[in-house]
Each structure stands twice: as structure tokens, then as C-alpha cells.
Symmetry: C2
Subunit: 321 residues, 2 copies
């Protein structure tokens, strides 16, 4: 079990582990976005811009660390082999994530100008190119997965990814979030706090949580993980996703644009429900830490190979970007 008494030391360890993943994954993202002359040059520029933007690569990290956590346990597979096996899935989840950011930022959606410290895709290029860029990145995710996963597990992998990216998960959560922001959901603003929290959890479980859980499951599937390992990863993912979102809400409330890399304070500006706005900043922070401890407990049975995941759960609620 991870000790959190040395928080700064733990943070440094997480940052350095994340950096290793980023190096591993960014080279492969770069290679995966190579397109023939059949892809429109402007489209490829936009895809490259969106996919290779500086980012935490949190979802690919979950894929790779889930794979390595499931591998060392007597499977005779080294960490490097696990990462190689899981690389196609890691690329695929990052492609889905990148496409969803491009579309979410569009004028008709969240209308954001800044993302990851740079102009959003439709500001850097144009709206039509941003729409098509997102569409092509989604297709590319399934191409990467179908091509890179062993055929025996690829069908399951594509199904997991499609569900996590679909109308009942990522897109459904975003649609309900927009509906609330535009006042299409009556009574929400005046509902009791408990109902508002339930609503927030339902949104985030789909909008961000589902892809985290899929990332972990895909990592496990890539190395033919056992059923009990997949179950532990899923339990971790459920609480990790919520902790991540609470941290995101806290950052929007008190982070700086320079550190976060996108416009902050926009939730309050739009009168949007967030964990801090409903239960307060302090209670949000406490809830986040409790969820992080729960996440650590969920993978305790996986042994020291899951330490990276456990450290990440503590870091996610303390991060400043």
C-alpha cells in the first residue's frame, strides 16, 4: 500500500513516471498520424495539432500501467513487453480523447479559444476542419485498435472502446451536460444538493469516467488479463474517474490559466454546477482524497505492480494542471 506521508516525494515520482509514458506514447502517436497523400494536407495538420498537443497523456498512462500491473504477476511478461502489447490501445484512447476535446471546444458546443495552452483546433484552423479532424481521429482510434490488437481480442477491444465513446457514455454525458447548461433540464438549479451531486456524478461517470474505465480494461485485455484483475481495474477506474473530475472542478475554481492551459473560472461564469459550487471547495477536496484512498484500496490486491496506479490516484487530486 502506498504511503502518502511523503507527498512531495510521491508527486515527483509520479511526474517522472508520467514523463516516461509521455516519451513512449508521443513517438507512437506521431507515427500513427502519418497519412498518405489521400488525406487532405490541412486535415492532417489539424489532426497532428490536436493529437500531439502537450498533454498529460493520462488515458494512455492508464492503459499502459493497467497492462504492466496485470503482467508481472506470474505471466512472465516484462513491463516493456506489456507496454508494447498495450500501445495500440493506448493510442486509440488518446485519439478518442483528442477528438472529443476538438469537438467540445467548437463554437456550437463549449466555444473555447484555448486548450492545452494553445488556440483550440477551430481557432488555429477553421470550424469545418475541426469537425472533420475530430471525425477522422475517432475513425483512426478504431483503426489503431483493430490493426494493433491481436485478432482474438480486437473484437472485444473495439466493443469496449465503441461503448465508452458512444451515446450512452462519453457523448451521452456531454449531451446531458450541454442540456443542463442551456437550461433544457428544468429544476436542476433549484434541486437539493444531494440531487445535484447525483446529477454531477451521473454526468461525469459517462463524460470522463467511462473512457478511464475503458482505458484500464483495454490495458488489461492487451495482455490477456484474468477476470479478477479486470474487475480490480474497473473498480479502480470508477473512483479514479470521479476523483479526477472533482480535481478538474477545483482547478477551474482556483487554478490559473497559465498552469491549467485552458480558460479557468468558466464554470462559475456560466453558472454551471460543479462539486465546489454544490458542496464547497473544502468538502470537494476531502471527497477527492477519500476517492483516491478508495482507488488505492481497489488495486491493493494486485501487488506492487499496481503501485504506479495507486500513486497516480493520490496525485490526481493534488495536481495543479
Amino acid at each position: 500500500m502506498i504511503e502518502v506521508s511523503d507527498a512531495p516525494g510521491l508527486d515527483a515520482a509520479v511526474m517522472s513516471s508520467l514523463e516516461r509514458v509521455r516519451t513512449f506514447i508521443d513517438a507512437r502517436l506521431d507515427a500513427a498520424i502519418e497519412m498518405s497523400a489521400d488525406a487532405s494536407p490541412r486535415l492532417v495538420d489539424a489532426m497532428r495539432y490536436a493529437l500531439l498537443a502537450p498533454g498529460k497523456r493520462l488515458r494512455p498512462t492508464l492503459v499502459l500501467w493497467a497492462a504492466s500491473a496485470c503482467s508481472s504477476d506470474g505471466a512472465g511478461r516484462s513491463c516493456e513487453e506489456a507496454w508494447e502489447a498495450a500501445a495500440p490501445a493506448a493510442l486509440a484512447v488518446e485519439m478518442i480523447h483528442a477528438y472529443s476535446l476538438v469537438h467540445d471546444d467548437l463554437p456550437a458546443m463549449d466555444d473555447d479559444d484555448l486548450r492545452r495552452g494553445r488556440p483550440t483546433c477551430h481557432r488555429q484552423f477553421d470550424e469545418a476542419t475541426a469537425i472533420l479532424c475530430g471525425d477522422a481521429l475517432q475513425a483512426l482510434a478504431f483503426e489503431a485498435l483493430a490493426q494493433g490488437m491481436p485478432a482474438a481480442t480486437a473484437a472485444r477491444g473495439c466493443l469496449v472502446l465503441a461503448r465508452a465513446a458512444g451515446g450512452e457514455a462519453l457523448v451521452g454525458g456531454q449531451a446531458d451536460d450541454l442540456a443542463a447548461e442551456r437550461g433544457w433540464v428544468s429544476d436542476l438549479a433549484t434541486a437539493p444538493a444531494a440531487e445535484q451531486v447525483a446529477w454531477l456524478e451521473r454526468i461525469h461517470r459517462r463524460k470522463t469516467g467511462a473512457l478511464f474505465i475503458a482505458a484500464l480494461e483495454l490495458g488489461g485485455l492487451s495482455v490477456a488479463a484474468r477476470h479478477d484483475q479486470l474487475a480490480m481495474l474497473a473498480a479502480f477506474g470508477r473512483v479514479f474517474g470521479l476523483a479526477f473530475q472533482i480535481a478538474d472542478d477545483i482547478l477551474d475554481a482556483e487554478g490559473t490559466e497559465a498552469a491549467v492551459g485552458k480558460r479557468v473560472g468558466k464554470d462559475v461564469e456560466r453558472g454551471k454546477l460543479t462539486f465546489p459550487s454544490v458542496i464547497g471547495l473544502e468538502a470537494s477536496r476531502e471527497r477527492g482524497h477519500a476517492l483516491a484512498r478508495e482507488a488505492v484500496g481497489a488495486v491493493a490486491g494486485m501487488g506492487p505492480e499496481a503501485d504506479d496506479l495507486a500513486r497516480l490516484a493520490h496525485w490526481i487530486i493534488r495536481r495543479n494542471h
Copy 2:
């Protein structure tokens, strides 16, 4: 080999065959769009609106007819069994097609108000919902395929669909088409006719042709078609796709909005390159008929089981909608 001396009789046969496919496929599309409460209600309404809009269901037709053409040849599989096996792929290609229409119609793209005789998705709902509707339909296509195809061929099926839908095919063609329309491609308007025709063919091979070819290949894969059968289907698809597009251009030039179900004359209005605008209406029609004959020849080796495909190739260039 199909005789075209009795064109009206042949047309009636094609229309009646298409009607059988529509009945078969629409019931399954309806069932496939059933979503849990996790999907936002407005999103599901939009998906249903876009996917079940009256249409020719040409792509699912190609999937089913390719499957049945590959089945009767000693494989001992009845036409009904072939259709059932190919149904998931038929749904998937129609979902990709429906999503691409929703996104193409957006204000930032072609900005169309009418589609299949009804308001376009963003006019009926709103822009954000239309963007998300397209995104969810694309994910649903891969879900239908990964879930419905036998695991052994699902990886190949998802790869075929992802490539046909991706930046080097459907989306790439659309991006280049937009780039030309917006004047980002210099010299095209003043290029010699032969270059303009080559440009048109390159656009359509990706924007519409790739999904036709994928539909045929997926139909074959669904019934474990032999390599030579897949090759004949691909050859058919290449010329069929171009014939379809030439017919589309002719319809835009001389069809009526009531028959076509979308705004016509918009190509000329926008100064867009089309086959009629470059080589003239009569030469376009002749080229279309020549391609139809070529398509029929491509599947001649498949025997009478491919008659439906052959008739369709002749019909496609004569259709009025």
C-alpha cells in the same frame, strides 16, 4: 449477364428488390438505436431522426447483396442466412453514412437545410446536438460491427470500416472537397478539363467510393467469402461508386428538389466542379452508362447470384432520386 433492353422492367425489379432490403434493414436499424437511459433523450431523438430518415439504404443493400452473391456458390448458405450474417455490417455502414450526412450538412460545412426531404439534423434539433449525434452514430457503427460480426472476422471488419471512414477516405475526400470550394486549392478552376476530371475522381473515390467498396467487402467478409470473390466485389465497387457520383451530379444539375429530397442546383450556385460542369451533361450520362456496364462485367464471374448487383449498377445511373 443482365440485358438492359427492358429498362422499365429492370427498374421496377430493382425498386422492388430495394424495397425488400429497406424493410429488412429498417427494422434492425430501429432496434440498434435503442439506448439505455444513459443516453441523453434529445441525443437519441436526433440519432433516430438521422438514422431512420427515409433513404435508399444503398450501402446496406450493397452489404447484403455482396453477402448473398458470395454465399450461394456452393457454400450451402441460403440468401436469408447470408443476410442475417451480414446484417451487423449493413447497419454499421448505414450508421457511418448517416453520421457523415449530419456533419456534412452543418453550417460550418455545406450549410444545408434539407436532407432526404426533411429539415437537416441541426435545423430540426440544434448544432451541438447534430455534432454529438454524428459522433455517437460513428461510435455506434463500430459497436454494431464489433458486437455482431464473428470474433474471428470482426478485427478485419473494424479495420475495413475504420479505413473507409477515416482521414484517407471519407473524411479526407470531404476535406479536399471543402478546400476546393473555399478556394484553398489554387489553379483548379482554370485547370484543363482532364485535370479537373482527375481531381473529381480523386475526391469521389474517397468521399463516396471508399464506403461503397467497404460495404461490399464487409458483406463478403460476413460470409467468409473467398479471395477471388472479394476481388470481384472490389472491382465492382470502384466503378459503381463513380457511376453513382456522376448520377448524383446529373441529379443536382437537372433533378427537382421534390424528387431528390435535398436542395438541387447548389453545385452550379457555388461554382462547384461537377462532371456535367466539366465534360457536359451528355458526356456525363454516357460515362455513367459505360461505368455501369463495366460494373456488370466485374461481377459477371460470380454467376446469377450477383444479378441484383448488376441490375443495381444499371439503375444507379438512371435513377431520379
